[in-house]
Amino acid sequence: MKIREIVSLLSADILCGGDLLDTDVHMACGSDMMSDVLAFVKDQAVLLTGLVNPQVVRTAMMMDMRCIAFVRGKRPSGEMLSLASSAGLAVLATPRRLYEACGILYHAGLGRTEP
């Protein structure tokens, strides 16, 4: 799934990385606990979270993620956006709740492993 489709599915605002919309993501992870995110490597993933602090961006950087989507209308600071931008991460903000946002992306096929 392209980041462009995530933007559309989640009615998200693009806060940085507008040039990365055609980047593919293959997996997603939704959590407010960063150590849970760090526990399993996901290939070219998007991180969905309601947590807002610079460690969210560093966690995504450590995991070589492609995109962060902040849920529940949360807005990251300018410092977080410049860190994300320097790491080549797209950052989105959606009014959806974490559960809804994950469900929408899963339903659209992101990270689904068909039997």
Binding site: L38, R58, M61
Partner: protein, 145 residues
Amino acid sequence: MSEPVVFTYPIDGNNFTSAGGASVAVKQNLRALGFPDDVVRRVSIAMYEGEINMVIHAHGGTATVTVGEDEITIVLADRGPGIADVERAMQEGYYTAPDNIRALGFGAGMGLPNMRRYTDEMRIDSVVGTGTTVTMKVRIPEEGA
């Protein structure tokens, strides 16, 4: 045999916002040295969890990363309170971090288990009241670097 490359970083224990900066620097350095993505990721994630632990629990310390011929060694040394029961601390989900740290997305009892998960060897030397030294090794696959 070439001389090992050594990176040393002071870890500021009073600044949660900047925590992880050393791990980001190590990641960039290892990438620049041409290591495979998997090795870079394992070293940097393990170090990142350790760095966060040093800030949460131990008022900071020093991180030393030594790039040898066939392995990368990360040594995280602090003069914090020490770990009374290392075996218990290694259990997933066992935590001692206060709620204000958990609200920041860490301290859920996954840090040490994650460090072990991503490294080939891990050793914790801790003395209560004196400090803790965590030594981790990640082997470099032969086709790497």
